[in-house]
Symmetry: C2
Subunit: 151 residues, 2 copies
DNA sequence: TGAATTCCTATCAGATCGGTAGGAATTAAA
DNA sequence: TTTAATTCCTACCGATCTGATAGGAATTCA
């Protein structure tokens, strides 16, 4: 599950993306119904990660640090929620071996989690805040199956 | 991220799966290095969900409620960690509309999260507790790209 | 100078997570 | 019929995470 922070972050990015002028946290907060102080904290993280830039003082605010179509959902989610992978041993940079791992190379569970990570990353890296909207989600998405009962 | 519960649950299922006779929680706990009382709680959930059966008393223990190749990772993970989807609005049965959703049908964020859910579900539903081991992970997995920096 | 803004630090209540504790109920074997 | 092994039930607990809130210092522009 995405955290509330993550959902706010995505919404905020969509708010900032199309603008020519910097926009204040207060304004984003009002337009997106996000608690202002909470949003400030999120924007601080996005700034530290180099996704947005800020200017202080009157007329200050936030803008994208680079074109929207060069910033993906994956970029944002990693900043606020951390690695996409379902387990440290299935992460490609935040990799950490399981304490009790018998054999990293042949672990079938890990292999499965890596497949999930790669599929997830591929989709999330294909979705941008671009001015040009975006391509359809997914090379990788399956058509919903009727009998699929789940979540 | 998977919870510790989820990782324990998967390991426990792999321990139970190949056995002819019921196996006790104490034994699984010892073999898999899982705190016994904690494992008991997890097995109770798996039982309630109909994935394992139990018998009490001496010689009691747990066994699969149906053949291992009819129980998927997805089944187990949903029991212990809840829906696979990254957001309630992207879940196919635990669906819940976002409070502030402008238009469910056209929400591009939701569309993306649905794609992620479907890809994830497809992989996790394709991995079973065998006896026949299992098919390779993923129709859907992408080959790891060298320059991919992430997690 | 005044108003609008980012930025910094601190705090907090509630939920979740990972685990522990003790014992009642049940069952098979000795 | 006792004994040992087991599931099952209820309760608890500390640490961490989550989703905020509070107050104000520093900066910038009109």
């Amino acid at each position: 599950m995405l955290s509330q922070r993550a959902r706010y972050a995505i919404r905020a990015m969509f708010n900032v993306a199309p603008r020519a002028e910097p926009v204040s946290a207060a304004r984003i907060a009002a337009e997106e119904a996000i608690p202002r102080k909470f949003l400030e904290a999120i924007l601080a993280d996005l700034k530290k990660a180099g996704l947005v830039e800020s200017s202080r003082g009157a007329l200050g605010g936030y803008r994208l640090a680079r074109p929207g179509d060069e910033i993906s959902f994956a970029d944002v989610l990693r900043v606020v929620d951390g690695p996409l992978a379902l387990a440290p041993c299935a992460s490609r940079t935040a990799y950490r071996q399981c304490d009790d791992c018998r054999d990293v190379e042949t672990c079938e569970t890990r292999r499965t989690l890596l497949a999930v990570r790669d599929a997830t990353a591929a989709i999330l890296e294909g979705r941008h805040f671009g001015p040009s909207g975006d391509e359809r989600p997914a090379a990788c998405a399956m058509p919903p199956q009727d009998a699929r009962v789940d979540s």
